[in-house]
């Protein structure tokens, strides 16, 4: 066998090795490309320091059944004295730990999560901004016990009237007042 043929074989082997190294994932398993499927997006908006366990569990059940992504969204209200794009560190002190707690719980159950933060002059305004920018297949709203805090009953009517998505309004259960709050954050967050 001539030297040229040997060199050619070696070069070919090297090229095959490089190509295999590029295409194969690190642990030698070939990843099966999943068929694209319609991604369902479930919005779970919240305003305060806690959300009802009932709303959270509904989002988990639906996400599991439909293979959907849950999108917890923290709605912040910008005081009229501040510019509309003002930073809101004080509200974030409450909202971010809760967002983290929700994400951790959803991820722990193997559910895809993609969080959002939206702000507006009112909670409804914040929600409107969010809905203008993105599409959601379902919206799960926990109806507040006290209509003066969070999304009001008027806001919920507005949501039903204006938003072309399936909307689930969940009343707090009488016998189950458990909530998901920032207390549930794991780790040092």
């Amino acid at each position: 066998m001539s030297t040229g043929v040997v060199v050619a074989i070696v070069l070919a082997a090297v090229l095959v090795g490089i190509a295999a190294g590029y295409w194969l994932p690190p642990h030698g398993r070939r990843v099966r490309r999943e068929r694209p499927r319609p991604v369902r997006r479930i919005l779970l908006p919240f305003t305060g320091e806690a959300i009802s366990r009932r709303a959270f569990e509904a989002s988990v059940r639906l996400a599991k059944a439909e293979g959907a992504t849950v999108m917890p969204a923290f709605l912040a209200r910008v005081p009229m004295d501040l510019p509309p794009d003002a930073a809101l560190p004080v509200q974030c002190e409450k909202g971010m730990p809760l967002l983290e707690a929700i994400e951790q719980r959803l991820s722990a159950q193997g559910i895809a999560v993609d969080s959002r933060v939206a702000r507006g002059r009112s909670y409804r305004d914040a929600l409107r901004h969010l809905l203008e920018q993105e599409h959601f297949d379902r919206i799960i709203v926990s109806v507040p016990e006290d209509s003066r805090s969070g999304l009001t009953h008027d806001d919920l009517l507005w949501l039903i009237d204006r938003v072309p998505a399936e909307i689930m309004l969940l009343r707090p259960a009488r016998d189950d007042t458990r909530r998901i709050s920032a207390v549930g954050v794991g780790g040092h967050f």
Partner: protein
């Protein structure tokens, strides 16, 4: 050697009215007068407080001048009279005050600048909510916006800032005892601005402001070229404010990293920058566009800066940005597994530690993922 003739400015900073700024300023004036200095009061606002007025009685005061504005006569500090009197030390209350139209300057801090330029030392007072950069934050904290603000640079240029601090409870006691406002204003004050949560927040802002001021002064100390002791002092560790840089990418997991970085910045009292090093030829998919937009919104709500730099060399770009921004911490998520020839490269954290030996690099654990992996 030419000696600077500019006067020295000392500002008594407080969280709210009634903490004792003016009183402290007057005590300082008395001490200077007792030490033989020529001290006058240029402008004093006693707000009807008897103790303050009594203390001011024993120092010479330059009378206010009357300024006619429309159909009203207003009283303002008499800047020309102060300059003509040329004391060694002048006490000028309420640095953030807005002057009536028709006098030399629109704002009192500009009057003070003239006084300092004339070589006169000045003692003045300021509440923290009057600082321009803190105004929005304080509106969010307290729901009250003050109209009279001054640029932060004014405080930055002060030779000394003295924090007059009392606990919120002590201030409320003082308010209830009628030592801050006359009786008819007490209830309204208690129901509005003087709430314990407002005062707690303002106190924290004031303490932080003075701490940052001290840090900034140390950082801008001129280079020392002198004795060995002076050189050693210059080499002493600086009380540097922390600045964090979180490396993000347009995918959902980045938001978790941003939130953790923000919490760390909050704990350290530092600033937060976010950086995405975008490969020049990279075109974003729809999902990536949405993720980037979500990170941008999150950054904006949190008050962080999102920087996007185009480059193929991530480590070099991060190092360059970190140098430029004065970063002290870099936070990054767990890298996705490398493929192909990229496996031969030095991992990014290691590259950064070599390029930035003075910057801490922290890899943020994905606790949610770990929880998911646990049985």
């Amino acid at each position: 050697v030419v000696e600077s003739k500019r006067g020295h400015l000392r500002v008594f900073l407080g969280m709210a009215a009634g903490v004792g700024k003016t009183y402290a300023m007057l005590l300082e004036g008395h001490a200077a007068a007792k030490a033989g200095r020529d001290v006058v009061i240029g402008l004093l606002e006693t707000h009807g407080r008897e103790d303050t007025a009594r203390l001011a009685d024993r120092l010479p005061m330059i009378p206010r001048r009357r300024v006619k504005y429309r159909d009203t006569e207003l009283e303002e500090m008499d800047l020309p009279a102060i300059l003509a009197r040329a004391p060694e030390l002048c006490l000028i209350d309420e640095l953030a005050h807005t002057n009536a139209p028709g006098v030399e300057h629109a704002k009192r801090f500009e009057d003070v600048e003239d006084v300092l330029e004339a070589g006169i030392d000045v003692l003045s007072t300021l509440n923290v909510q009057h600082l321009e950069s803190l105004n929005d934050r304080i509106v969010e904290l307290t729901g009250v916006r003050v109209r009279e603000t001054i640029p932060d640079a004014v405080l930055g240029k002060a030779d000394e800032v003295v924090l007059i601090d009392v606990t919120p409870n002590a201030l409320l006691d003082r308010l209830r005892a009628g030592k801050v406002y006359p009786p008819e204003r007490i209830e309204s004050a208690l129901n509005n601005f003087f709430k314990i949560e407002n005062l707690d927040a303002l106190r924290e802002v004031a303490l932080r402001e003075v701490a940052e001021e001290v840090g900034a002064k140390r950082l801008t100390t001129p280079e020392v070229t002198g004795t060995r002791e002076e050189t050693l002092a210059a080499d002493a560790p600086q009380a540097v404010g922390e600045r964090l840089l979180a490396l993000v990418e347009p995918y959902p997991g980045s938001q978790r990293l941003v939130r953790r970085a923000w919490r760390s910045a909050q704990r350290l009292g530092g600033e937060l920058d976010l950086l995405w090093v975008r490969p020049p030829s990279r075109r974003l998919t729809g999902d990536e566009e949405r993720s980037l937009s979500a990170v941008r919104e999150l950054a904006s709500v949190l008050g962080a800066d999102l920087l996007i730099e185009e480059s193929d060399d991530v480590a070099a770009t991060v190092a360059e940005v970190a140098e430029r921004r004065g970063t002290t911490y870099i936070l990054m998520g767990r890298a996705r597994p490398a493929r192909g020839l990229a496996r031969l490269r030095t991992p990014l954290p290691q590259e950064l530690m070599e390029l930035l030996p003075r910057v801490d690099v922290r890899i943020v654990a994905d606790r949610a993922r770990r929880a998911a992996e646990q049985p």
